[in-house]
C-alpha cells in the first residue's frame, strides 16, 4: 500500500538535517535519514548503503545478505525443478 523503492545513498546533502542524496536508477533525490541513522552516528557512515525510500524518508536499511538468501532459495527451487524435469 505504500510505494517504496530501493536506492543507494550516494551523498550527504546536509548533515545537520540528516539529509542525504539517494540514487535510484540514475535518478537522485534528497531523502531524510532520521529513521535509519543510529542516534548520534555520522550520516556519512551510511554512504554506499541501500535504503528503502518512502515519501522522502529512508525507512529501512536494505540487508543485502538477506536479499541473497531469498534469491538463493529461489535458485534452489530452480535447481530442484531442473532435477524433476
Amino acid at each position: 500500500m505504500c510505494l517504496g523503492i530501493p536506492g543507494e545513498i550516494v551523498a550527504i546533502d546536509d548533515a545537520a538535517t540528516l539529509t542525504a542524496v539517494v540514487e535510484v536508477s540514475g535518478v537522485r533525490r534528497r531523502v531524510n535519514l532520521a529513521c535509519v541513522l543510529p542516534t548520534g552516528a555520522d550520516p556519512a557512515s551510511l554512504l554506499g548503503y541501500w535504503v528503502l525510500v518512502h515519501v522522502g524518508f529512508a525507512m529501512s536499511l536494505i540487508d543485502a545478505e538477506e536479499a541473497h538468501q531469498t534469491l538463493r532459495l529461489l535458485a534452489e527451487l530452480e535447481a530442484f525443478a531442473d532435477e524433476v524435469r
Partner: protein, 351 residues
C-alpha cells in the same frame, strides 16, 4: 545628433510589457527586431496580414494539402534537450510528417506574459529559427499577443503547419490489420521525464534529456523503403499508450504490446519507479509509432536504425483481430493484462 539611449523596450535587459502587445509602435519594433529577423524570409518580411504562397510550387509536391495546429504550453520554457521553440517547430512538423506529408510552411503565434524577459524571447525565437532550418520549413506568418502578468505562463506558442502529401501515400489509424507489427523509433518517455525533472516540483535530479526532434526525415526514408506502412503517429501527450489506444479504436482491432520489448532509458525508469508512473504514458516529442505489415517489419526496423532519429527502433507489439479497441500487454511474468488507459493527469503516487 546621436544620443545613447537605453532602449528598454527591445533591449535584452528589458521585460515584455503590455505595450508590446497593443498593436502600436513598440510592438512593431519588437516583432521586427526579434521575429522577422530570426525567421528571415521574404513572405514574413512583408509584414502583411497573411503570407502569400505560390500554389504551383506547393502542388508540385503532391495531391493533398496537410494542415495541422498545436499550441505549446510547456513549463519550464527551457529544458534539457530543447525549449518551447524547438517543441513548437518539431511538434507541428511531426504532426504533418505522420501523414506522410512533406512539411513546408509554419505559422508562429506568440502569447507572451507581461514580465517575460526579452532576452529569453530572443533566445527562444533563435532556437525556433534553428529548428525550422533543420526541418527545412519556413515560418511565413505570425502574430504576437501580450497578456497581463498572471494571465499567462511566460509564453505560449502556437504553430500551424502546411505540408503536402505525395500521391499514393495513404496512412490512417483505421488501416491497422491483424498480424501487423507495432514499431517505435526509440526509447519511451524521455520528454515527459525530462520535463518532470526540469519543473523541479518533485526535486528529482537525473541526466534526463528531452527527445525533441523532427521526424519527417525518418518518415520519408521509411516510406521510400517500405511504402506499405499502414498507420503512423507521433506519440506526444498521452504517450505511446495513447497512440496505441487510438490505433486500436480507429481500426476496430486489438493491439498487444510486449513488456519485455519496451525500450526505456534507466533514468526514465527510475523516475517511473519513484513516482509510481508508467513510461508508456509519458509524453515524447520525437517518437513515432508505426504499424506495418509483419513481413515488412524487420526490414523497416533495419532501415529506421540507420537513421539518426531511429537508432533505437524496435518492434514493441502486434495487431490482433480483437476485441475491438482493446490494448493488452503481455507482462514480464508471462501474464497478459489490459494496458492502463491514459485517463487524465499523471499524478505521482505514494501508494
Amino acid at each position: 545628433m546621436k544620443t545613447e539611449s537605453t532602449d528598454a523596450n527591445t533591449s535584452d535587459q528589458g521585460l515584455i510589457t503590455l505595450a508590446h502587445g497593443a498593436g502600436g509602435r513598440v510592438m512593431r519594433q519588437l516583432i521586427e527586431s526579434i521575429c522577422v529577423e530570426a525567421f528571415n524570409n521574404p513572405a514574413l518580411a512583408l509584414l502583411e496580414d497573411q503570407a502569400r504562397l505560390d500554389m504551383a510550387e506547393i502542388a508540385a509536391h503532391g495531391d493533398r494539402l496537410a494542415f495541422t495546429t498545436d499550441s505549446y504550453v510547456v513549463d519550464p520554457l527551457e529544458f534539457p534537450g530543447g525549449d518551447i521553440g524547438t517543441l513548437a517547430v518539431n511538434g507541428t512538423v511531426n504532426d504533418l510528417a505522420v501523414s506522410g506529408a512533406r512539411p513546408l510552411y509554419l505559422s508562429c503565434a506568440l502569447i507572451l506574459e507581461e514580465g517575460l524577459e526579452i532576452s529569453r524571447l530572443r533566445r527562444i525565437m533563435a532556437s525556433m529559427s534553428d529548428a525550422a532550418g533543420v526541418a527545412g520549413v519556413s515560418i511565413v506568418t505570425g502574430d504576437t499577443k501580450v497578456v497581463p502578468r498572471g494571465k499567462g505562463d511566460g509564453m505560449f506558442i502556437n504553430t500551424s503547419g502546411i505540408g503536402v502529401i505525395p500521391q499514393g501515400v495513404e496512412l490512417a489509424a483505421s488501416r491497422c490489420q491483424p498480424g501487423d507489427c507495432v514499431i517505435v523509433n526509440g526509447t519511451l518517455g524521455d520528454h515527459g521525464a525530462a520535463i518532470l525533472q526540469a519543473r523541479g516540483d518533485l526535486a528529482l535530479e537525473a541526466d534526463l534529456v528531452s527527445d525533441c526532434q523532427p521526424l519527417h526525415g525518418l518518415i520519408a526514408r521509411m516510406l521510400a523503403v517500405c511504402p506499405q506502412v499502414h498507420a503512423l503517429r507521433d506519440a506526444t501527450r498521452g504517450g505511446v499508450a495513447g497512440v496505441v489506444y487510438e490505433f486500436a479504436e480507429a481500426s476496430g482491432r486489438a493491439i498487444r504490446l510486449f513488456e519485455d520489448q519496451l525500450p526505456v532509458r534507466p533514468s526514465v525508469r527510475g523516475v517511473c519507479e519513484i513516482l509510481g508512473l508508467d513510461a508508456l504514458h509519458f509524453a515524447n516529442e520525437g517518437k513515432l509509432v508505426a504499424v506495418v505489415p509483419r513481413e515488412a517489419a524487420d526490414s523497416m526496423v533495419a532501415v529506421m536504425r540507420e537513421h539518426p532519429a531511429g537508432r533505437d527502433a524496435c518492434i514493441i507489439g502486434e495487431v490482433l483481430d480483437g476485441p475491438a479497441g482493446s490494448v493488452q500487454i503481455s507482462t514480464l511474468m508471462g501474464g497478459v493484462r489490459l494496458l492502463d488507459l491514459p485517463i487524465g493527469e499523471q499524478l505521482p503516487r505514494i501508494c
